[in-house]
């Protein structure tokens, strides 16, 4: 009778493991896009991976429970079916004992009735587990869907400063790994854990009713199992942690070397890298063998211990039967009960680590959910927006005590073209961050059309501004959807026109499906220059009142840039525009050039005036053309 009820745990374990394993890889492949750094926190969900503990387990559980409470109908239904199932599960061996005793006492007439009862009990038991499976699948589907949705909503509503101050890898890990860990624990083992616990109680009660002494004896070996598992998992963890580290290192090496293959090849480093890789691989194998041998002996040892309990039941059961304390049928029932009793305990021992990890992940998820959302409040602004921008004595620092913008005042009248120049770190991009309300000023005021931007809702403020950023951000979607990002109701004519004026038309015409070509992994199949052209076209199409270009054409060659410039001059005619550029040739025709240094304005004026001043701008200009003269 050994495995009777024990089969599911293993087989399902394997089925769900395969999906989990690949999910962690999959996380990695994604994380490689936004953040190619090597220190990553992936692979948390794997078997035998280091277990982390949640700091506030109770609080985390409580908050998770809230998600279940909303589905109380399903929870209730689940509980009812579990109770029904467990009752049948503990009753059935009782009927079996009776049946065997009838056979022994040669009462074949009443045997049939007992067998029918037994069959009924088993069928109901089977049906109730089926129902449990369905209900918990539905329940977990709903819970996880909501949890993921909440998390995503939160991410899009977090202030930029949160994203800037946390590594993308970390946020990704929370959104993907941690959520996935919870999802898999909830969907695969929630109902089996619940029913296991009840089964434990029911079984003990049944066993006690037959023979308290035999109960104690057979429980003792189970206790032995528990002792063994908890001890060995602690010991095992050490090796698994080390193996995990080595595996991470190995994966890191592969990733790094394959990504950097050009350098590796150009510098004839292949053999050296293969040697390094082999060393790690050998070490991994050594550790892996030890870890797996220890981990792998869990199975045989548990099997052995359960066989010991089989022997104990057989031998002592026989002794009690000989003394007439119990019947033979009871021995056969006890063999089943001993299994039923140890199953949930073993399962819990096996799942313990996974549950801990999931809880720790849950805690991290709730940490994000508790973050303060971006302040989007504010009223509306008079349309059409004129585009008068004013900075009044603005001070700002990302880190307290390290001012980035000092006493910055600037007035831009409607329709003017303003350029910000200065060396890296002079605060140009920060000005844009403040104007977009990505960050909040420490002191001072920023006004749009005479109204403080903090009195304008972020939606309206940002709608009025079109921006082309330093990092060219594109989405894995069609070219069309990327270009029409700001609004979906753009006509084909408008689209064509924008593509021509931003010089995207050739590029798009060369793609296999034109506008409907899907960009792979955020457009990584395009060159930097091509990506910039597309983002410029996107800004064209958003028809803003104010246009901001932050190093928008830095990767486009100068000839193409010049063409785009001509188009942009057209585009910027009616609009206020702010331009940040490295290449001074880009901004020579600006109405006003602001030279910044360490967060302050050091010079301003148009190109001719500034050159005549022979100040900072003149220096910059001369270095630009260093090598031409002298």
């Amino acid at each position: 009778m050994s495995q009777q009820l024990n089969i599911r745990a293993e087989s399902v374990g394997i089925l769900s493991m395969s999906s989990k394993q690949s999910s962690s890889q999959n996380w990695k492949s994604i994380s490689a896009v936004p953040q190619p750094s090597l220190g990553r926190r992936g692979m948390r969900g794997n078997m035998g991976a280091p277990i982390e503990k949640a700091r506030d387990r109770k609080g985390t559980l409580k908050r998770l429970w809230k998600y279940f409470r909303n589905e109380w109908r399903y929870v209730l239904l689940l509980c009812v079916t579990i109770i029904l199932g467990v009752t049948m599960g503990v009753m059935a061996p009782r009927f079996q004992a009776e049946g065997i005793d009838r056979i022994k006492n040669s009462e074949p007439g009443s045997l049939k009735r007992v067998l029918i009862l037994m069959l009924t009990a088993y069928v109901i038991y089977g049906l109730s587990t089926l129902l449990q499976g369905f209900i918990s699948a539905k329940l977990s589907q709903r819970v996880i869907f909501r949890l993921r949705g909440d998390l995503f909503c939160k991410i899009t509503n977090l202030p930029i400063s949160y994203i800037d101050n946390h590594s993308h890898g970390d946020i990704m890990s929370r959104m993907t790994n941690d959520a996935e860990n919870i999802a898999s624990i909830v969907s695969s083992s929630l109902s089996s854990l619940l029913s296991g616990m009840l089964m434990l109680v029911g079984t003990i009660a049944m066993m006690l009713s037959y023979s308290p002494l035999l109960t104690m004896l057979s429980c003792s070996t189970v206790m032995l199992t528990v002792l063994f598992t908890t001890n060995i998992t602690g010991y095992m963890r050490k090796y698994f942690v080390r193996r995990q580290k080595l595996l991470g290192k190995l994966n890191g090496t592969v990733e790094e070397m394959v990504t950097n293959t050009r350098t590796v090849t150009a510098y004839n480093r292949q053999e050296a890298e293969v040697r390094g890789f082999s060393e790690t691989a050998d070490e991994l194998t050594k550790t892996g063998i030890i870890a797996e041998i220890i981990g792998g002996s869990m199975g045989p040892v548990m099997n052995m211990l359960s066989n010991v309990s089989f022997v104990v039941v057989a031998v002592f059961g026989a002794r009690f039967a000989l003394r007439g304390d119990i019947s033979i049928g009871v021995i056969s029932a006890f063999i089943i009960y001993a299994k039923q009793f140890s199953r949930p305990i073993n399962e819990l021992a096996q799942l313990y680590g996974q549950i801990q990890t999931a809880l720790a992940g849950g805690e991290r998820i709730f940490e994000i959910l508790d973050e303060k959302e971006e302040d989007k409040s504010g009223g509306s602004i008079v349309q059409p927006v004129k585009g008068v921008i004013e900075f009044r004595n603005v001070n700002f620092s990302y880190v307290p005590g390290k001012p980035v913008i000092r006493n910055f005042s600037l007035k831009v009248s409607s329709g003017k073209k303003i350029a910000l120049v200065g060396s890296t770190g002079s605060g140009k991009t920060t000005i844009i961050n403040l104007l977009m309300r990505f960050y909040h000023v420490d002191s001072g005021e920023i006004l749009l059309d005479g109204k403080s931007i903090y009195d304008i809702s972020t939606d309206e403020l940002r709608d009025a501004i079109g921006i082309v950023l330093q990092d060219t951000v594109l989405f894995t979607d069609t070219i069309r959807n990327n270009l029409c990002y700001a609004s979906r109701d753009i006509t084909q004519e408008e689209l064509d026109e924008a593509a021509v004026s931003s010089h995207c038309d050739d590029l798009i015409a060369n793609l296999t499906n034109g506008y409907d070509t899907v960009l792979e992994s955020s457009g990584s199949n395009l060159s930097q220059g091509q990506r910039q052209l597309l983002t410029i076209c996107r800004a064209f199409l958003s028809k803003p009142s104010i246009l901001i270009l932050d190093e928008a054409t830095s990767s486009v060659d100068t000839r193409t840039e010049m063409c785009i410039q001509d188009a942009m001059t057209e585009l910027m005619k009616q609009r206020t525009s702010l331009i940040i550029a490295h290449r001074l040739s880009t901004i020579q025709d600006a109405d006003e050039i602001i030279v910044m240094d360490h967060g302050e304005i050091v010079e301003s004026g148009n190109h001719e005036e500034l050159l005549a001043k022979k100040g900072r701008y003149h220096d910059l200009y001369m270095t630009q053309f260093a090598g031409q003269e002298t």
Partner: protein, 572 residues
């Protein structure tokens, strides 16, 4: 693949033998149990109960030892196998040409070397342990059961097909379901990834709501998929239970009649119940073995693909070609990227004499980078010839050819480790002084000294704090450290500010006079000092000469000049 297993097959064999032992012992126990019941309890022989009990305990321990030892051997076998496989894969990948790496994609090569190997490794150990265990339970278990009483064969005949059908059904259904689940999980994760990386744009275009809507759809798909999988799994256990338990009831029924007819004892009946569940659970194990095998076979296919790809670019035959100061010659070179139709380079011919500097300028996509990547044979020409030191590059061994060339790439690639390590990749034998002087020329020394541990600062950590320009300067230091005849800078100064760039080239002219140099750049100011400038447009060289000559003769060059220096340039 079998080739890799050859070395370790006998270890695996020992492992499976131990597994046979463990199963046999599991199967002997119910028999002993039957003996206790039939000869001990029914006949009132307590002495026998104890002696059989002690024998059982001994047997149980023996079984445990077999199980552990089987694990030991199987692990040694499968992990060594996996290790060899992994190393062979990495070795092969390291010798791939770029086109091959591009074809496979970096991501897929990483998965193939890591998780695919693990998957195959799992398959091997599962085959040795699981399959043997499963077969033994089935074959030996059935014969043990039938040896008790042939009448039980009827039960087996009914239950086995049902279980087999169920397993087949689940295996058949789960494959595509899991693939779909994985795809949808990928989709959800990629939407998240993009949003985290692009939050500025999402916010700037006020698209939070539409992104949430987009995510909702993917999230809904994922949840549905997971639900399907859960449903499928939910069927397995109850059906199995009902079949098993019905069989148990039948066994008791048949056994009851047999006991009545005095053809068997009651202890044997109890043993029969145990055998039945052992056989059926052995069958159930097949479900997961199939799963592992399916995954393993898919993985091994992917691995074989890599191992079967022979590096496209092979060594030339001649070694020790005389060094002649690093001359470069292109003779009527045309080039099309493998698998593409668009000709990237068209009939390119030019020579660079030893010690000369050639600058290349031209629009994005005009073929500059492609041109220089033909020199160290990153790709092979489609037509024409490339010569280095007067010899066709195809005649060199790759090692020798690339040793003569120092290449700073367009995208500066950084390795984990210190800044020093990153520079020393150029020449691992260089002294510290040499390294520092290379860094000085590359204008990197000063900013490196400002790092927390100067040259020992780890790059991985600094990865985020190092700016593009700083990385480029480290990459240039690396290139300068290399004792090569030819130096190629592939637009590798684009992120430097103009002053720094000017200083770099000034230092380069002084200290690295003898090297033949090819410099790709976007800015006129960078190239105008070169001995000669090649102007590229749409895959052709449309002008070649000094700055002055080109200003007079080449329209494209003049346009570029105007685009950069127009208006202001003339007034300075």
């Amino acid at each position: 693949m079998l080739k890799f297993l050859k070395k370790y097959w006998w270890i695996g064999l020992i492992g499976s033998l131990f597994m046979v032992g463990e199963v046999l012992i599991d199967l002997i126990q119910p028999k002993m149990m039957a003996q206790i019941v039939d000869e001990g309890i029914l006949k009132g022989n307590e002495g026998l109960v104890w002696s059989v009990g002690i024998r059982m305990i001994l047997v149980v321990f023996l079984g445990g030892c077999c199980g552990i030892l089987s694990g030991v051997f199987v692990n040694i076998c499968s992990q060594h196998f996996g290790n060899d496989l992994r190393k062979a894969l990495f070795h092969r990948i390291m010798n791939f040409s770029f086109e091959q790496i591009d074809d496979f994609t970096v991501g897929s090569l990483i998965t193939r070397t890591t998780s695919d190997v693990t998957q195959v490794q799992n398959m091997v150990s599962q085959l040795i342990r699981g399959a043997v265990r499963c077969m033994m339970f089935f074959i030996a278990g059935s014969s043990f059961l039938l040896s008790l009483n042939v009448a039980f064969s009827r039960v087996l005949m009914f239950t086995l097909p049902i279980i087999l059908l169920e397993i087949a059904f689940v295996v058949w259904k789960s494959g595509p379901l899991f693939t779909l689940l994985q795809k949808r999980l990928d989709r959800v994760n990629s939407v998240i990834g993009e949003n985290v990386a692009s939050e500025r744009v999402v916010k700037a275009f006020v698209q939070e709501k539409s992104e949430i809507e987009k995510f909702r759809q993917s999230n809904r798909d994922l949840a549905d998929s997971r639900f399907q999988v859960q449903l499928l799994i939910s069927w397995m256990r109850p059906v199995m239970n009902i079949v098993l338990n019905t069989a148990t009831v039948t066994i008791i029924y048949i056994g009851g009649m047999e006991v009545e007819a005095r053809r068997m004892e009651i202890g044997s009946l109890m043993a029969a119940i145990t055998y039945l569940s052992q056989i059926l659970s052995g069958m159930m194990m097949m479900a997961m073995i199939f799963q592992t095998i399916t995954l393993g076979v898919a993985s091994s296919k992917r691995i074989k693909e890599v191992l079967a790809s022979v590096p496209v670019i092979q060594d030339g035959k001649e070694g020790n070609i005389e060094k002649r100061g690093g001359s470069i010659e292109f003779k009527n070179v045309s080039f099309t990227y493998p698998g593409h139709h668009h000709e990237v380079l068209k009939d390119i011919s030019f020579t660079v004499a030893p010690g000369q500097t050639l600058a290349i300028i031209g629009a994005t996509g005009s073929g500059k980078s492609t041109l220089v990547s033909l020199i160290p044979r990153f790709y092979d020409v489609t037509e024409g010839r490339v010569l280095v030191d007067g010899e066709d590059v195809k005649n060199f061994t790759l090692h020798e050819l690339r040793d003569r060339i120092s290449f700073a790439l367009q995208k500066s690639e950084m390795f984990s480790g210190s800044i020093e390590h990153n520079i020393m990749i150029g020449n691992p034998e260089a002294t510290e002084d040499e390294m520092i002087s290379a860094a000085k020329v590359a204008q990197a020394h000063e900013f490196i000294l400002c790092q927390p541990d100067s040259y020992d600062t780890p790059v991985a950590e600094a990865g985020m704090s190092l700016s593009g320009g700083q990385k480029q300067r480290i990459a240039i230091s690396r290139a300068l450290l290399r004792p090569a005849e030819i130096l190629i800078l592939d637009d590798s100064t684009s992120a430097l500010d103009l002053g720094t760039e000017a200083r770099l080239f000034k230092a380069l002219r002084g200290d690295y006079e003898k090297m033949t140099k090819i410099i790709i750049a976007q800015r006129i100011a960078t190239v105008m000092r070169a001995d000669r400038i090649a102007v590229m447009d749409k895959g052709r060289i449309v002008g070649m000469g000094t700055h002055k000559e080109l200003m007079n003769s080449c329209d494209v060059y003049r346009e570029i000049y105007d685009s950069q220096l127009r208006k202001g340039g003339a007034k300075v």
